[in-house]
Symmetry: C2
Subunit: 332 residues, 2 copies
């Protein structure tokens, strides 16, 4: 645990000891957050999977968001990256850049959120850094997982003829962001709450990712938007894709939102923040999907095919190509 | 490489492809920064050492500092943590939080600094995140090293009777910060430049740390200040220490600064940013220090002893205890 710059009147060492060290108590390699670095054992035959995400107040979350939810979302977007690689979580390091006037109650609630999701997903804090910033509260989570060596799910394995599938329902994240910011008129309070909840607290598909090892030909998690992210697989694999918009699974709330205003379909295709998995799979392996969906209790829906060529095209109900905005979702 | 929030008009993907992907080209596990996460192989019998540091403009470096130096210092403070554990560097992830008006030339120079130190210290970029911030430019480096399993240098192994030693010269970092900010009057331009350079570009003692494995009983790198950091070993090991101020090795420039103004001795004892190693060693192993110093071309100086009890006491030339300010160095 590197230490620089007292962020708070109670002192950085006190903060670490009081709020962060308990989160590391179960991991001997964290060395109680009192050493220069942490130690991670990687069993023979496994390799380490590492992903890093930075989150900035007012960019990735709102300054008045519940600190508990900020903590849990920070972990979950990283856990989703592990899920996309087929990895099992081990631990994480956390760099917190805290405004000097932050309330200790914010830190306490933030740590409680971390504790809740550590327990839910089976991982420990391993180390990090706590420092002050004159800017907005910012976090970097670096997460560690294990995968059998050579078996990680990559973006480069899709082949023409493979099916394209997604987990869960698509578009809830982007519509949820709209709902949370009051930009989604005409929805019932129940639907708005459901969508906002999907945005605020994504569900990393860890069991599904691990079940897809050796079965899916490529996978990733949907954070930039369905079409943009599938474009990453297409580019990484040197293939194209054809999707059927009518096949894309929507939650009842998202379906009602789109039925009310058809322009919202753009948010389904190009919005981000779903943190569902998108995958490709050979036709012979696709018979296993139903069993995997049942075993992991996560719906999986085939939405299109991998083709030779490049780019991701989406056809409407009549088979006509739908024009799409360039690029994925930008947070501002 | 997670992707969120375009930080710059040329687009985040373009930035990553243009400036960061070349830094990852030598590491197959980085997956060209195009996947959800990176893969790290840990050979059997080794364990992974992980350290994370956040750096914030105006707190840890000045906004007008050379981007090349900002990059190299960000790597080096983390490399210093690996050195303190006796680990050999492997790679790092980098989260960059960039103001929207940042010049592309800043990023180009920053990447060039990373490239220079990657080459100097033998490591690769493995992954990370690039995002926008409405606040000051901020960075989180998470660094990875390897150490033979169970052989990492910890803070907990010091025993009464051990000697206390440091590498290089002490106090240059803190006096260099003073010099860089014009707060060190009466020094020659040459001395001021030397000290400022020691502050701006620390030298991680990687070869020394690795040579001390199995020989030093405890070690860390001096970032908070000599007495505060030795206090961390004392606390971690449940021992006390007695230091002789006259034994603390000073650079000629620091010696001249202290000779000119005796109050500057406080900066030697309590200043930070030296990134030298402090270590404890049993008397029987201490005969090996001269050979290690010669083999690694880094001076090592014994400055005191470990004693039973607690706390770090410093004696002046006449054997009288010197009073010290509480705590270590704070960056603001």
């Amino acid at each position: 645990m590197a230490r620089e710059a007292k962020p708070h009147r109670s002192g950085e060492f006190d903060l670490i000891a009081k709020y962060f060290a308990p989160l590391a108590a179960a991991a001997p390699g964290a060395l109680a957050l009192t050493d220069d670095a942490a130690l991670i054992q990687v069993p023979t035959g496994q390799e380490l999977v590492v992903s890093s995400d930075a989150l900035v107040a007012s960019v990735h979350f709102r300054s008045d968001d519940s600190p508990d939810l900020v903590a849990r979302k920070a972990l979950r977007v990283n856990l989703s990256d592990l899920a996309a690689m087929g990895a099992a979580p081990v631990g994480y390091t956390l760099a917190t850049m805290l405004p000097r006037d932050i309330e200790e109650s914010w830190i306490a609630a933030f740590a409680a959120g971390l504790a809740a999701d550590q327990k839910a997903f089976g991982l420990s804090l391993l180390g990090g850094d706590t420092t002050a910033t004159p800017g907005p509260l910012s976090l970097t989570v670096t997460i560690f997982g294990l995968v059998p060596a050579g078996r990680a799910l990559l973006r480069s394995g899709a082949r023409p003829g493979d099916l394209v599938a997604v987990s869960g329902t698509i578009g809830d994240g982007a519509l949820g962001l709209d709902a949370a910011s009051g930009a989604l008129a005409g929805l019932s309070a129940e639907d708005a709450d459901f969508l906002a909840g999907r945005y605020r607290l994504p569900q990393p598909r860890l069991a599904l990712g691990q079940a897809l090892r050796g079965i899916a030909s490529a996978a990733l998690d949907i954070s930039d938007g369905l079409v943009a992210d599938l474009g990453h697989i297409a580019q990484g694999s040197g293939v194209g894709m054809r999707l059927r918009v009518a096949s894309i699974p929507l939650s009842p709330a998202a379906a009602r939102a789109v039925a009310r205003d058809g322009t919202r379909r753009g948010r389904i295709l190009a919005g981000g923040d779903d943190y569902e998995l998108a995958l490709t799979i050979s036709p012979e392996n696709s018979t296993k999907l139903a069993g995997i969906a049942e075993a992991t209790a996560v719906p999986i829906t085939v939405i299109g095919e991998v083709v030779a060529g490049q780019g991701v095209r989406v056809a409407d109900e009549a088979g006509r190509e739908i024009g799409l905005p360039a690029g994925g979702y930008a947070h501002f």
